[in-house]
């Protein structure tokens, strides 16, 4: 429903965001995953219409944002963004939540009614009369969320919403976000650097690294250097002394991503045609959708998926040594 094409935004020579093609599904919750400085915030502020892109376009239904110019107010009334450090206006919580409605000219009675409902939805109805700036960071973030929800946007953007707040409020906020799935008129996009959170709350995870969406499953992403190799199969050195082989024309400093579903876990070393075989220790295990995700430390931490059955049969407990085997073609290099 949100279509992004050929989008480019540069900040001097230091950083450039480049999104060739990205579609955000309507009514879904999409997560933008990436480390700090990867461009998630830039992308969100472009979608929010707060900054103009240098090139490219963002389309939503019948509206479109082009490069260079500021977004029209209709766009900004359909798309609302919450940042990781929310800014609250002077005044009470109720007044803050009501700002968006006042901009739209909503009459007073309707305003008050909607404000109350939004406060309830965010679980902060008892804060209505409090001075907004006296609240803690976590409470302030919930006010910001109520403030955004009350205007009933078509697109809700959240930039690292739980980054700066206490655990209780973070949990409440995550519950709230999760509850928004299925509201067919609301598209949610949130940015995070937390893989777990991305998976927990969203239906789709898009990785952004160094200003570009990653064309791979967003797990097992490591930085490395091409150490050698002939045409085709190259050896790439990762941190922790790990070396893997991958099929790539690239050289120099690269990123690799290894699909967890392409990694075979065994208790003993396998002899196979697969070029990569690493030994590691299981660090943790977590259940995930009838699968078990294992974190294995093999010099760098790998994320692998096994079925519940395999997990039980092989007695894969934390602390066990296992072998990870995967083909060079399972490694995406970019």
């Amino acid at each position: 429903m949100l279509q992004i094409e050929q989008l480019v935004k540069s900040y001097g020579s230091a950083f450039t965001l480049e999104v060739e093609q990205l579609e955000i599904a309507e009514g879904a919750i999409t997560a933008l995953l990436g480390p700090n400085g990867s461009g998630k915030s830039t992308l969100l502020s472009l979608i929010a219409g707060l900054r103009p892109a240098d090139r490219g376009s963002i389309r939503m239904g019948s509206m479109a944002l082009g490069p260079g110019s500021a977004a029209p107010v209709e766009w900004r009334r359909a798309v609302t963004m919450i940042t990781h450090k929310p800014f609250l206006f002077q005044g009470t919580v109720e007044e803050n939540v009501g700002y968006g409605l006042r901009f739209r000219g909503t009459p007073r009675a309707a305003r008050l009614d909607r404000i109350n409902r939004a406060l309830k939805q965010a679980g902060i109805e008892m804060f209505g009369r409090r001075k907004a700036r006296e609240l803690s960071d976590g409470e302030a973030q919930m006010v910001a969320v109520a403030r955004a929800l009350v205007v009933e946007p078509r697109v809700l953007l959240l930039d690292e919403p739980t980054a700066n707040i206490d655990m209780d409020n973070a949990a409440s906020l995550e519950l709230l976000i999760a509850s928004l799935s299925g509201e067919k008129d609301l598209t949610v996009v949130f940015a995070t650097h937390n893989l777990e959170q991305a998976y927990r709350l969203s239906t789709r995870v898009v990785s952004i690294i160094r200003g570009r969406p990653v064309p791979a499953h967003p797990e097992n992403i490591f930085r490395g250097t091409v150490a050698g190799g002939r045409d085709g199969i190259k050896t790439i050195a990762l941190r922790g002394g790990v070396q893997i082989e991958a099929d790539t024309p690239l050289s120099g400093s690269v990123h690799v991503a290894i699909d967890p579903t392409g990694i075979v876990v065994s208790k003993m070393e396998l002899r196979s045609s697969a070029r990569n075989s690493l030994a590691g220790r299981i660090v943790s295990a977590s259940a995930h959708d009838h699968r078990v995700r294992l974190a294995v430390d093999a010099g760098v931490e790998f994320s692998v998926l096994v079925t519940e059955q395999s997990f039980r049969e092989m007695a894969l407990h934390p602390g066990e040594i296992v072998y990870l085997t995967f083909k060079s073609t399972a490694v995406k290099v970019f």
């Binding site: 002077q90 005044g91 007044e95 006042r102």
Partner: protein, 291 residues
């Protein structure tokens, strides 16, 4: 809520502003600008003299207190409508050069030389103002002058010239020396400064009388014919400055020289003394020296 409050406050301010500006502007129509020498202001003469005039002719007189020299310059500029001054030579030059019309004598009094109680220069008792000043200069006793080109200042410089104590030249100028101080201010302020410095000073009797309880100076020389002080009123020429309020200037001149106005001048007393002798029809006369 706060946005509503600030809007209301803003509108209130605009209203206030408009009210203030219009209330100030509405006075523009019937106003007469009079530059009057400081002795007529500081003594309170004009404060008592003008209200009946203002009432009778429905006009407001703006009195700008200025020494004769400054008053004449304002008039030459067209910044005032008429002047009330007391320096005969300057007045005649003003009229002859076409800046002013209809000069009329109004009232007179005399100057006195005042000084500290102990009179270090022994200027007392000298009926001759010139010899008194000579004594003061000889003793290098502190002397405070108006120094502002006022009528009093003009008179003072003429006396110094006659005493031969001023540097030469056609235009009278003041003597030089550390004992001689020029304040550049009005009569009242100058008397206060002279009192502070325990210095001698040439003052008009009217202002001195009005201030006599505030300063510790006493009259040391009076009665010399030279010390006659004649006041006149002149209207600024409408030919020179078409915008001036000529009608009301003429009315003021007429009123001050009318029997009614002259009587009021003669009735004006401070501490039992008549400060200004009306002499509209007897210029140069009308006072018997001493009072």
């Amino acid at each position: 809520m706060q946005i509503m409050i600030s809007k209301g406050v803003f509108q209130l301010c605009i209203l206030l502003c408009a009210l203030i500006v219009t209330s100030i502007g509405s006075h523009a129509a019937e106003r007469l600008k009079l530059a009057a020498t400081t002795s007529t202001v500081d003594t309170g003469l004009l404060d008592s003299l003008l209200p009946p005039f203002e009432k009778k002719f429905t006009v407001k007189v703006d009195v700008i207190s200025a020494g004769t020299g400054k008053a004449i310059r304002l008039a030459e500029n067209g910044d005032v409508d008429c002047i009330l001054v007391h320096a005969r030579e300057q007045e005649e030059k003003f009229v002859n050069e076409g800046h002013g019309v209809n000069r009329r004598a109004v009232m007179c009094n005399d100057f006195v030389i005042v000084g500290p109680e102990n009179d270090p220069a022994r200027a007392a008792g000298k009926r001759d103002a010139v010899s008194a000043l000579t004594a003061i200069a000889g003793a290098q006793a502190p002397f405070v002058s108006r120094g502002d080109d006022s009528g009093t200042h003009q008179k003072e410089k003429e006396l110094w010239k006659e005493a031969g104590l001023a540097p030469g030249g056609a235009v009278p100028s003041p003597p030089r020396g550390a004992w001689y101080v020029e304040t550049g201010q009005g009569m009242g302020a100058t008397l206060t400064i002279a009192d502070e410095k325990k210095a001698y000073c040439l003052a008009d009797r009217a202002t001195y009388t009005a201030f006599s309880d505030k300063v510790g100076l006493r009259i040391l020389c009076e009665g010399d014919r030279r010390l006659l002080n004649q006041y006149a009123i002149i209207a600024v020429s409408p030919a020179r400055h078409p915008h001036v309020n000529y009608i009301h200037a003429m009315r003021l001149i007429g009123w001050l020289t009318s029997p009614e106005g002259q009587k009021m001048i003669g009735d004006f007393k401070k501490k039992g003394f008549v400060l200004f002798r009306p002499n509209a029809y007897q210029e140069g006369r009308g006072i018997e020296l001493p009072h």
